[in-house]
């Protein structure tokens, strides 16, 4: 790892993204673990994890852009892909949950309309 | 570099692939393509026989890479014999199948061609991992062929056959891993070289690997206690497929010969194959005995034949495990005989079954049949040959085996089961024959279907081959002896394959 001759600012930025990503993703997983019912748990990953990983990818983008010289935007592709697919996954899982008539937590204001 | 040598692998591959591309071909075209390709295989096999007769080893360096780095094909007399046997057998199977049983499912001919590719590859390759690959090719093709035609019995037998062989493949990979981890090479000749000079501490591990390989090949060759998948699988398969499978167990045998006698047998002083051969001897004898008992207890001709296969495997492995050149030659002759005759009986069971009113090939059923005289005569002759009575190849081969084994100290352990199993076979076949052709009344002519000349002819020709194998035994035997001699000169194999590489240091500087 030859991050040593890297400009401090870039290092800071990368580090920031790394840490931020880690934290956000962790929060997402905590949500997955802690929240009451499925529909609530669904929120954690679809956003947090996606974003968190997005940050990591951004960090890696910067890192390798410097390392290899010239812009290395491949990681952007992964991020884009994640952002396109994550909502659909969530959508499908929600549908499955609705289909299986999973019960919501008691605090839910208004349950799903039953078909 | 003689390109004819790759043909036995490439031709069936091309044919199979082409049949897939032309997947809309009507059955007639498929048949003619398949038969044509198989005929070509026979021709090239004959070439291989001649070529191997001229020069002990013919090499083919795939990708033009120096062995042991690239994969190399090695043609010697043994592989040439196996090639010819396979080609002839498959030709008859294709011809028989082309009378209609290839219609029972889809892509019979393509699958059969792939199967041939796998078998021929296994016979030719000089690289252990490549052997694994070709094993998988022939296995997956055999799975498909076994299921050809559908039906409950096939599904069940197929499932067992597949799962067991998958376990076998896993074991094969493990053994390969151990071998590579300890020797750092995959080429058979190079393996032999390294194993012969392996450090004392590694030897037990290498031997353990050879024991694993024994199980792997034992599953293919149907060695006790790894053979229980065989009877049902073979009796469930459609006739031509079962007949083709007669060669499959021999592939296992061939692999054992190559790997145990050549790869593990280079060091004459203390060969690394002593352990595995010591294990093979008793297991093979028990296999042989169980096969005989199974023959007696069989309830249908196909099952009986399946146990005949087991008997033959027992004899082959027992003789091979005694590590004697003369005996190996004899067992190779027996291999030719048994393969041919078991195939004949699988076809015969189907042929007769077609003309019995009911019960197909079951012994318990007494059913009127048609064409009693022709079928009965064919069955009688075939039975005589199968029971290794004179004047057929079976008699000669058994005589040879017994002769060449009589020099061993414990020859009686081999003689007793061979002779007794022979008696059991006579008993079983006489029961079957008299029950089928002497007991029932003739089927009313209007109910009787016309005799299928082509199918019958195919069977007769195969029997005739077994007969002529006895008549012209001597030249065959000379060839086989030469083949066995080569097997017992691993050093020659190693030199031929590695050439100038021998002695050269491993480290190739960049």
């Amino acid at each position: 790892m030859n991050g040593s001759e890297m400009p401090l600012l870039l290092q800071l930025v990368i580090t920031f993204f790394l840490v931020a990503g880690a934290i956000v993703a962790l929060i997402g997983s905590i949500g997955l673990a802690r929240l009451k019912d499925f529909y609530m748990r669904l929120h954690g990953p679809t956003k947090a994890s996606t974003l968190g990983v997005g940050c990591i990818l951004l960090a890696s983008l910067l890192y390798f852009s410097f390392l290899k010289g010239g812009l290395s935007v491949q990681e952007a592709l992964v991020t884009l892909f994640l952002f396109v697919t994550a909502p659909v996954s969530a959508h499908m899982m929600a549908k499955a949950a609705l289909h299986r008539k999973l019960k919501c937590s008691p605090r839910t204001r208004k349950g799903p309309p039953d078909h | 570099m003689n390109h004819l040598m790759i043909m036995p692998i490439v031709i069936p591959l091309l044919t199979g692939a082409f049949l897939l591309v032309m997947y809309r071909y009507n059955i007639g075209r498929q048949r003619s393509l398949s038969i044509g390709s198989t005929l070509l295989l026979v021709i090239f096999a004959v070439w291989a026989i001649l070529q191997a007769g001229v020069s002990d080893y013919t090499l083919y360096r795939l990708g033009n890479w120096q062995p042991p780095f690239g994969i190399v094909l090695v043609l010697d007399r043994l592989s040439a014999i196996m090639l010819l046997l396979t080609a002839l057998l498959s030709l008859f199977c294709v011809l028989y199948a082309s009378r209609g049983s290839d219609r029972e499912g889809s892509h019979f001919h393509a699958l059969l061609q792939f199967q041939l590719m796998g078998i021929n590859g296994a016979f030719l390759t000089g690289d252990l991992f490549n052997l694994f690959v070709f094993f998988e090719v022939l296995l997956i093709a055999s799975y498909a062929l076994l299921l050809h035609g559908g039906g409950r019995a096939r599904s069940r037998a197929g499932l067992h056959y597949v799962v067991i062989n998958l376990a076998g493949s896993a074991l094969f990979l493990l053994a390969l891993g151990i071998l590579y981890g300890l020797t750092g090479t995959l080429n058979m000749a190079d393996l032999a070289r390294v194993i012969a000079t392996a450090p004392e501490a590694d030897l037990p591990l290498l031997k353990a690997a050879s024991l694993l390989l024994m199980v792997v090949f034992g599953i293919k060759a149907a060695l006790l206690p790894l053979l229980f998948w065989l009877p049902r699988a073979y009796s469930a398969a459609s006739a031509p497929v079962a007949a083709l499978f007669a060669i499959m167990t021999k592939v296992g045998f061939y692999a054992m010969v190559r790997v145990f006698l050549v790869v593990f047998g280079l060091d004459e002083g203390s060969p690394a194959n002593d352990t595995v051969l010591a294990w093979l001897w008793p297991m093979a004898l028990i296999t042989l005995s169980l096969g005989g008992i199974g023959v007696l207890g069989a309830s249908s001709l196909r099952t009986l034949t399946a146990y005949m296969v087991i008997v033959s495997v027992g004899i082959l492995l027992a003789t091979m495990s005694r590590n004697d050149e003369q005996l190996l030659a004899a067992s190779l002759f027996y291999l030719l005989h048994s393969t041919c005759m078991t195939a004949v009986f699988f076809l015969l069971a189907d042929l007769i079954g077609r003309y019995r009113e009911n019960g197909y090939d079951r012994f318990s059923v007494i059913s009127p049949l048609s064409h009693r005289w022709i079928l009965g005569t064919v069955f009688l002759v075939a039975a005589v040959s199968m029971a290794s009575l004179p004047p057929f190849s079976g008699f000669v081969s058994k005589a040879w085996i017994l002769q060449s084994s009589s020099t061993l100290p414990d020859y009686l352990w081999l003689w007793a089961p061979i002779l007794i199993s022979g008696l059991l076979i006579i008993a079983a076949l006489s029961r079957a024959g008299s029950g089928w052709f002497w007991r029932p009344e003739e089927l009313a002519d209007k109910a009787a279907p016309a005799l299928d000349g082509a199918r019958t002819a195919t069977v007769c020709v195969m029997i005739a081959i077994s007969f002529s194998l006895a008549i012209f035994a001597q030249p065959v035997m000379d060839y086989l002896e030469a083949a066995a001699r080569l097997i017992y000169e691993p050093s020659g194999y190693v030199e031929a394959v590695l050439g100038d590489y021998v002695g050269q240091s491993r480290e190739v500087t960049e």
């Binding site: 078909h115 | 699958l111 690959v133 024991l211 294990w279 169980l290 207890g297 005589v384 007991r439």
Partner: protein, 936 residues
């Protein structure tokens, strides 16, 4: 060579008969058959007579030709006194039998078959007696068993015929196998199978420590063939055969083959304690058993059969004694027996056909209706009884006198004379009985045909000839012996010995008294028969056939039960067997192995790897624990797959990571597809014991792997890989060595690998084609609640994802040669993207948008890859030799063209085709539009 002609003439005759059989059977067809069949034997007989002078000059004519020198099997013939005597009996009696059969089979259309088989048999028999090479003789030996099997089963509609035939085949066939063993050993000892060499090697043989085994095996063969106790059981049941067959095979010729063999090998193997005891005792037992049982037979043929047995025993006994004189007696009696037993059988046949019965309790007083038959039969009957002036009298007397000469061992000195006298007594009794009981003894009792049918006079001719011959021998024994038998005797004892002196025999007192005793006692016995029968009826009557069938059934049942118990159709058991076979030997060998720890030092622990390893293990264990809950187990399985991927990525195997990943998801999708037909849970059915056993096996297996891995990992690596790293760029034109190995160094493996994939797909197509789950189709259908078949949002995104995925796979494909990637992964990515279309849009929807079918795609892929390999021929290089060149075009810049890329294209195509074929056909199973129509 004309000896060879002698042997094979009857075959030609048989073929002739076969052809004449094809001709439409007319009224006279039996006549025609008989004439055709008579030709060959007659010629043989003449040939033999023409040889007589040369044979009498004492020389042994030997002709040998090599056939399979490797095993010492040669086509070799030998004509000396012994073989001449037998050959003459065989052909001579054969002619008469054919003559007899011409009337016996009159009006039956089975005649043709008989004549064919009888001539085949003649060949076999001549082959036995005329072979110089023992292995060659064995060929004919087995042939006789076979033909006898066919002849006994001649009237196969009857159960007895079938059973008798099977029984004889199994017993004589078994004997044949023993004989094979014995002869092979003999050949090993002598170093040749030529009788000449064997006879010359007496000392070598007798002194060899394999001699006892050899002798026992050979005798086993001889005894079974010659119906010696306890193997005699098959002979009475061979009587199910037509009478001519019984007369020929089962009294005159085949049953003598064993005796011939013993006589033949006597000079080489005889004159030992073992020889004496084995053969003599067997002979005595057989002699007595046969004679005793014969007395109580009511069936004429049965009686004759047992008397044959006893006479065979008698001859065996003489051979066992082994002295030259004993041999002389043996061969003399052998001839005599052939001459008097054949006509008696013929008589039995005539009576049978005339009266429709063979039971002597019913058949009585035939002298009125068949005086001629009675007169002719009197001679052989008397001979069998051994009345004075009869040939049988002489041979008996010879036996008695020989029995007196036995000096050692001491038990034999007195036992044998007494024994043979008693046996002689019995034989007198049954001889008297067969004659008196049939032709006199009051009125017949309700016979099927009465008055008996007229039989043509010609049928008596063969009887007459034989009877006359027998009489002749009795009257002029010395001449007969000198001219015919003496030569044979000399051949059986390779010494030149004086002629047998019959005048001396007639002076001998003791033997005369012995035979008087036998005669008187025999008559007394016969007169007291009624009471004896009464006693005999008390004895349990045992039917050998049933015993044999019992034994067969028992052994078959045993075999079946054993096989069933082992091969019980349980996959779990088979797998357990395999595991044990894989573990046990290694355990056995490595139990004391200590070298597990290799020389090289352990590397430092990397926490991230440990973390991964722990999760990998946990998920694997989770799969094992939750396998009853199938879907959760599947999820855990994909976690395992994911972490295997991570492991590959961590340990510098990016290509493996990519491959594992894509394969994993495809596998999971396929399993999901399967799960939609299978039950959702596995029942808990294996008991604690089974689980413990399996855990034990699994644990052992796991431990084994761990140990091996540890052993190897702690050893220094010395591999051939340096070469690949060195030559990847210069030789293979790619920097990604793994990929270069795959498409170049070991491209052949890859070719096989994609073939496997293709076959798997085609196989799936093939055996799901007609598989359809109609009951499930109903459940599928249109929207229900939140679960509409094809969610719009999913569709939109999947469609958008498709081109991008294709772009990605193009990227992965192109960079593969130099960077992680390659055709296989690219293919899987494409396949996954298209699978997404299946899931989002439905099978039918997606299928009709595919550009091509999948099977041709697979084929094309394989063709491309193979053609690339073949391309290298054009420039004279071997299959799959790669070529590449770096181009530098203006404005385009530098780029590389490699044949490997073309090969990889083949891989790509195959993978796409195969994967989609599998998925589509799995998917089709439940699609309403699916079944019946082929997908892909």
């Amino acid at each position: 060579m004309d000896i060879g002609l002698l042997v094979f003439l009857p075959v030609l005759g048989a073929i002739a008969s076969l052809l004449s059989r094809l001709k439409r059977p007319g009224p006279d067809h039996v006549q025609r058959h008989a004439l055709v069949a008579l030709i060959a034997p007659a010629i043989c007989l003449l040939l033999l007579l023409s040889y007589l002078p040369r044979v009498q000059s004492g020389e042994a004519l030997v002709y040998s030709f090599s056939w399979v020198p490797e095993i010492g099997l040669g086509i070799a013939f030998r004509l000396d006194g012994l073989s001449w005597l037998f050959a003459t009996l065989i052909t001579g009696i054969g002619c008469l039998i054919i003559l007899y059969a011409r009337y016996y089979f009159a009006g039956k259309d089975t005649a043709g078959r008989f004549f064919v088989l009888i001539q085949l048999f003649m060949t076999a028999m001549l082959g036995i007696v005329l072979s110089e090479n023992l292995l060659f003789m064995l060929v004919f030996w087995e042939l006789t068993s076979l033909v006898s099997f066919l002849l006994i089963g001649f009237t196969w509609s009857s159960r007895n015929a079938r059973r008798g035939a099977r029984m004889s085949l199994v017993i004589t066939g078994g004997g044949g196998l023993a004989l094979l063993g014995g002869i092979l050993l003999l050949g090993q000892i002598v170093g040749s199978y030529q009788i000449t060499d064997v006879l010359a090697a007496t000392d070598t043989i007798v002194s060899d420590d394999r001699y006892p085994l050899t002798l026992s095996l050979i005798l086993l063969g001889a005894f079974t063939k010659s119906a010696q106790a306890p193997f005699h059981l098959w002979l009475p049941h061979a009587m199910a055969a037509p009478t001519p067959v019984s007369a020929y095979l089962h009294s005159a010729t085949m049953v003598k083959a064993g005796l011939f063999l013993m006589a033949r090998l006597h000079p080489a193997m005889g004159d030992t304690e073992l020889w004496f005891s084995l053969i003599t005792i067997t002979g005595m037992v057989t002699l007595m058993v046969g004679a005793f049982v014969a007395m109580f037979m009511h069936d004429i043929k049965g009686l004759l059969a047992y008397s044959t047995i006893s006479h065979l025993g008698l001859i065996t006994l003489l051979i066992g004694m082994g002295s030259e004189m004993a041999m002389a007696a043996a061969l003399f009696h052998l001839t005599v027996h052939a001459l008097f037993k054949a006509p008696l059988f013929m008589m039995a046949g005539i009576v049978d056909q005339a009266t429709g019965s063979r039971d002597m309790r019913n058949i009585n007083g035939l002298w009125r209706t068949m005086p001629a038959l009675m007169l002719i039969t009197a001679v052989p009957a008397a001979a069998m009884a051994g009345l004075p002036l009869m040939s049988g009298y002489l041979s008996k007397k010879m036996l008695f006198s020989e029995s007196l000469l036995v000096t050692a061992p001491h038990w034999a000195t007195t036992l044998i004379p007494v024994w043979v006298t008693v046996a002689g007594l019995f034989s007198v009794a049954y001889s008297v009985r067969i004659f008196h009981n049939v032709f006199f003894n009051g009125q017949p009792v309700d016979l099927p045909h009465w008055p008996p049918r007229k039989k043509p006079a010609g049928m008596l001719v063969p009887l007459f000839i034989l009877a006359a011959a027998s009489l002749l021998v009795g009257l002029a024994p010395q001449a007969t012996y000198d001219s015919l038998i003496h030569l044979a005797v000399m051949a059986t004892s390779m010494t030149h010995l004086p002629l047998y002196d019959f005048s001396a025999l007639s002076e001998a007192q003791v033997p005369a008294m012995m035979s008087m005793v036998a005669m008187v006692g025999g008559v007394v016995f016969y007169l007291a028969r009624s009471s004896l029968f009464a006693i005999h009826r008390q004895l349990p009557d045992v039917d050998a056939k049933n015993i044999f069938e019992q034994i067969m059934q028992q052994s078959i049942r045993f075999a079946q039960s054993l096989v069933y118990r082992l091969e019980n159709g349980s996959l779990q058991r088979y797998l357990a067997f395999i595991l044990v076979a894989a573990i046990a030997p290694g355990l056995w060998m490595l139990s004391s192995y200590t070298g597990w720890q290799g020389p090289s030092a352990l590397t430092a622990v990397n926490p991230m790897v440990v973390f991964g390893a722990v999760i990998l293990c946990l998920s694997a264990i989770g799969v094992a624990l939750f396998h009853h809950q199938r879907l959760p187990a599947l999820l855990l399985l994909s976690v395992t797959g994911l972490f295997v991927t991570l492991a590959f990525a961590q340990f510098s195997a990016p290509d493996l990571a990519l491959t594992q990943l894509s394969v994993e998801v495809m596998a999971v999708v396929i399993m999901m597809l399967a799960l939609s037909f299978l039950p959702q849970t596995s029942p808990r059915e294996s008991g604690a014991g089974r689980i413990v056993r399996d855990l034990g096996l699994a644990g052992l297996a796991g431990t084994g792997i761990a140990l091996f891995a540890y052993a190897v990992l702690t050893r220094p690596a010395e591999t051939i890989s340096g070469y690949f790293l060195a030559n990847s760029v210069p030789g293979g034109g790619g920097t990604n060595v793994v990929n270069v190995i795959l498409v170049d160094f070991r491209g052949f493996d890859t070719l096989g690998e994609i073939t496997v994939l293709g076959i798997a797909a085609v196989a799936v197509f093939a055996f799901t084609r007609d598989l359809h789950l109609k009951e499930r189709v109903a459940s599928a259908g249109t929207a229900k609640g939140f679960a509409e078949p094809h969610p719009v949002i999913l569709q939109m995104v999947s469609r958008m994802a498709l081109p991008i995925a294709l772009l990605v796979s193009a990227y992965i494909f192109l960079r593969g040669h130099n960077m992680p990637g390659g055709g296989f992964i690219a293919g899987l990515v494409t396949a996954v993207a298209l699978t997404l279309q299946y899931m989002a849009g439905g099978l039918v929807w997606a299928q009709e948008r595919m550009l091509t079918h999948f099977r041709p795609l697979i084929g094309a892929g394989l063709l491309i890859a193979t053609a690339t390999g073949l391309g290298s021929w054009v420039v004279g290089y071997p299959f799959l030799t790669s070529a590449f060149s770096h181009m530098d075009w203006p404005l385009i810049g530098e780029f590389e063209l490699a044949t490997a890329l073309l090969f990889d294209l083949g891989v790509y195509t195959t993978v796409v085709g195969a994967t989609l074929l599998i998925l589509a056909n799995l998917g089709k199973l439940m699609t309403v539009a699916g079944p019946g129509q082929e997908v892909g």
